[in-house]
Symmetry: D2
Amino acid sequence: MRKLRMGMIGGGIGSFIGDVHRKASGLDGMIELVCGAFSSTAEKSKASGKELLLPEERCYANYEDMILKEKELPEDSRMDFVSIVTPNHMHFAPAKFALENGFHVVCDKPMTLTVEEAKILENLVTSTGLLFALTHNYPGSPMVKQAKAMVENGDLGKIRKVQVHYLQGWMATSVEDSGNKQASWRVDPSKSGVGGALGDIGTHAHNLVEYITGLQVTEIAADLGKFGKGRILDDDGNILLRLENDAKGTMSFSQIAVGEENNFTIRVYGEKGSLEWHQENPNELTTRWIDRPKMVYTPNGHELYPLSLAASRIPAGHPEGYLEAFANVYKNFATHLNASLTDKKIETPDYPTVSDGIKGVQFIHAAVESDRQNAAWVSLK
Amino acid sequence: MRKLRMGMIGGGIGSFIGDVHRKASGLDGMIELVCGAFSSTAEKSKASGKELLLPEERCYANYEDMILKEKELPEDSRMDFVSIVTPNHMHFAPAKFALENGFHVVCDKPMTLTVEEAKILENLVTSTGLLFALTHNYPGSPMVKQAKAMVENGDLGKIRKVQVHYLQGWMATSVEDSGNKQASWRVDPSKSGVGGALGDIGTHAHNLVEYITGLQVTEIAADLGKFGKGRILDDDGNILLRLENDAKGTMSFSQIAVGEENNFTIRVYGEKGSLEWHQENPNELTTRWIDRPKMVYTPNGHELYPLSLAASRIPAGHPEGYLEAFANVYKNFATHLNASLTDKKIETPDYPTVSDGIKGVQFIHAAVESDRQNAAWVSLK
Amino acid sequence: MRKLRMGMIGGGIGSFIGDVHRKASGLDGMIELVCGAFSSTAEKSKASGKELLLPEERCYANYEDMILKEKELPEDSRMDFVSIVTPNHMHFAPAKFALENGFHVVCDKPMTLTVEEAKILENLVTSTGLLFALTHNYPGSPMVKQAKAMVENGDLGKIRKVQVHYLQGWMATSVEDSGNKQASWRVDPSKSGVGGALGDIGTHAHNLVEYITGLQVTEIAADLGKFGKGRILDDDGNILLRLENDAKGTMSFSQIAVGEENNFTIRVYGEKGSLEWHQENPNELTTRWIDRPKMVYTPNGHELYPLSLAASRIPAGHPEGYLEAFANVYKNFATHLNASLTDKKIETPDYPTVSDGIKGVQFIHAAVESDRQNAAWVSLK
Amino acid sequence: MRKLRMGMIGGGIGSFIGDVHRKASGLDGMIELVCGAFSSTAEKSKASGKELLLPEERCYANYEDMILKEKELPEDSRMDFVSIVTPNHMHFAPAKFALENGFHVVCDKPMTLTVEEAKILENLVTSTGLLFALTHNYPGSPMVKQAKAMVENGDLGKIRKVQVHYLQGWMATSVEDSGNKQASWRVDPSKSGVGGALGDIGTHAHNLVEYITGLQVTEIAADLGKFGKGRILDDDGNILLRLENDAKGTMSFSQIAVGEENNFTIRVYGEKGSLEWHQENPNELTTRWIDRPKMVYTPNGHELYPLSLAASRIPAGHPEGYLEAFANVYKNFATHLNASLTDKKIETPDYPTVSDGIKGVQFIHAAVESDRQNAAWVSLK
């Protein structure tokens, strides 16, 4: 095993998610940032690289440059993979170019703006054999992994009902008009795609439902809201869900839910038991049972499945949070990549891949379509 | 002011809700139980009355008997009002008969099986001038009243989003087949009406949304579930809500949500603030704000509106629960009735009335209709 | 079984605790208030009685009158027992007089001002065979009873450690100087006795520790605080506890803990498991285990002991609170009294008695003595 | 600013706290691990270094070697500071040697076994002008910093009462006898010093009280427990606290509190307001007020002081935990060291220093002395 070399696309100094990716990828000592095309201009990119203590020659003006030049470096120093942390409209092109030039890819979500783009990436991944990780970070949480394992092992029985909501309030007013960069690209269809909050956080909710239950969402009826003045894209949504095996549910997401910070909550009900998880206090998994008192699981605590235990770094009672969950995506990707570099086989790697990316983009488009039809049912297939 | 005399219809010994009505009506010393037609047979009714320490001659064989005989008693001893605590299909006839014979009515929800019946009762209430209370008990909670007052006073700004769920798990298995009386009438359309969980708890959710927000639910798209083996009526439901003033929301209710006891939760989001209330810990009202930290209100605590203060009996920190909230419906009804008996005028009384009853029945039928149409939007008007 | 007749001493209209006793004693339909000596003057007593809808002739000028005159009434109408709800200094004399005249007694805590008085009452109870209930209400809570039963059944193993605190903030400022009647007698040694917060709430904490653990507190080291300006009696205290069987612990109580409403919390640690209960959300009992996840018990929920089940009136998830717990003391007392009136034997009745009263008074005096000696250990025996 | 170079003493692979120090020091990209003397033998040390991807020549056999050889390296590659993560008895010697040889020091707590040793280090720090950080990590939490700032700014008024407990259960059984290395040195006085749980976690509690309140603990009365079979050192303790300005309080700590994971909780009561913080859900600071509802602060949320804002890395609602708090100690130390290397002045750095180390060791010895005298008061001065 060796330390993997990462090149970053996007994520200049000041970027929220770029910094998250850097801290998360570095946490376990398995990955180091070696180069980047951090910004829209060569100057800004270099300035960012300097603050990150990178050598100037590896701070590139754009992703094409980076990919082509890194490709020419000796094998033992060139980057192993790119991490794409740009706004949505800038995921597809660099991901495609990286794959075409032999680099593995870590890419933020939603993967692409269109389903067509998403399928092109999937084909490239298949044809090249390169690895592709999509950074849905919430499945990285130890208690989410315990939830998945409990469902998978049948502890809850057949799943009947799912409730998920992802509520934020930071866009309750027109923050995009007062210089909030995080907001301004999110409300712009040319950068965000057809979905607003839908793509930004609705996709996390969709992904989490499928990750934990192991069931596909098969059709949805979506009623989207555009509450912010002059907004073209949704900033709120309420969705009826139907899943495989006759399960039903609701999803609600919002970026105008005043006062909510990052309230991402899921409840799953089976025939024998149920579970509940709150992202804002991620170190508890509450379970309820047909014949026993409520039980609350904790990371590295009692009666956990291996999938969950593998995701904790420190003893029970020492809280891990958002960054650590995010780091688990990188950690599992890095473990897979290291194995693949040395031809070792490992178990099905536990991180979101290009196929999760396709499903996310399909979900966005289905929700928009359903909303256009006044919340008629639209199939996700 | 004098102690009001109550005659009970239904609620024989062993009944859950009959006992609740007795304890709730008696809590504040304003009402005493003086007679009853507790059960389907004269014998059972007398047995119940005996346990309740009532004189034998005022334990009647059926509601007609009770109403006709009490009517003949001297004014200073005959019952003032009936309290109807029977299963759903036995609400309409006794309510109608009581009104026709000059008795005020307290009635459990849902008020009737059909909208037509509901309107007949409304007409009778109007024409007789008698009082009619519907026992939606949750609006009786001090923190629900604070929530209503905050919205009414504009503290939250214009309401944009509502989320409500009412989740129980006690019917997750086929308890109706193993002698659970509470379950057996609820799954029987001839007793429960067209709605199962919908009528039983969905109506509470609908009522609470309208009570707190002051907004009418205008249209709904409902996807009902029948998870229990052989069930004809819904035991689960997911509903998209549209309200007056362009607010939107979701409702979910269930009696098959394994492990949930009585998880009735509401969240309301306005332009400036939001609030959250959980029935299972009813003595907290959590509020979130656009520019301040989260604030948690408590009964008899700081910065409460009079509507809320009036609903607490004991100092802050001494929890009141389900029975006390229920008792507030009776207390406000009794205050109104006492005022009406002495021709005093009082402010608009704060308890659910016959018009809330109509809305509840409309909601049930609209949801069933929407579900029949595969969750198409159905208007509630 | 018949309805028991209660005469109240103290508790005129406007009294906090008098109203609590009335609501609590009436909740289960086993007790009715038939007479009272509610206030310090005959007029006020009558006024209170009128509001309570009592006949004028049974509203007495003072407790001696009430006891002597009720004694002369026919057996089937005179009161069965007195309920003493006056400030501390007015407990002993009426309790003694009632017992001497053949009436059973319910008495608020602390039972008396001195240990000598307490022992006189104990002797009277023994010699007369009359019943005596002390209204420590918190042991009435279903989850406290579950806690006691779990310890008793050895579920937690040998008890090692106890933490209890009872924190209020309502006396953080000098409220006694601005007409707060609840405060003014509590800060007055002639009415409150040698303990302030100590007697008012410290005794509840002491009682709860012994009720749940089944262990006697054997010695204490107390550091009392007098934070309010000019206060003679403690308004805060911190105590080291030693209990039977080598258990240790801490107690903290306060009426100057700003912002706390009625935060009464206990944690008990055994060799195999531990438990935690919060009065402000009394419907959860959290348990932690050496080899299992945290489990949370709820009233009328799964895996409860009979002692707990008997204390719930309504289904799981329907919160009961302070009044219902208080009512359980009256209910168990009434059940015992009814049995005793008909010579039935019942199991050891589960309500606090005169011997708990003695222990409480001993605890107060020991704590004051320890504090005088700069927190030296003082034995409670 | 440049990346600082760290040499680690102790913390071989498998060590809990060594891994924590590595992740925490690396999180913000300001520090890199360049060398180490990780274990008791040269071989083990090299093996650990290899796993950490360090060059073999910088994996030293012992701390003397490391310090002497690093000293000879060119200034631009030798380590800047040592991080000492060994058991307690191995803090003093390497810290002293590092300071004597011109290296800055980060050291785990408790700083030394004796007060004399502690003062020697303090003198060395003073005489050399080198920096010294003690890794009490809990003050690194954003909500603890908010708590400190609120007290400092007088928001709570004069402090009257403090309650702190630090409860763990992992040593409830004799885990030291079954090969648990974390336990075995902790129960051994030659390695742990005179305090067991006292030194391990009691010192954290003591430090947090002083950090938040800004008040010195002036005297304590300690009742220590040795519940585990054959234990020589305390595994539990209950302590009465007296602080400057007439504040009082309690401390309780335990490693035999079955089922508790890392329950470190503090409550501070002033004349105007109070606050409460729980380490296990560190992203909430609950405050209570004399005239307002309870308010709950969150990292990067509303109305925070700069001291708190500076300690958060990600937006509100994205939980940070133990590692991030720990990383804040390193971050502030690194900022200070970088400034000191370039002769910049910065504000009083916000991390625990050698003087906190002395106080911690004094606290341990005072508690042991008090316990020997049957919980007599012992001064901390």
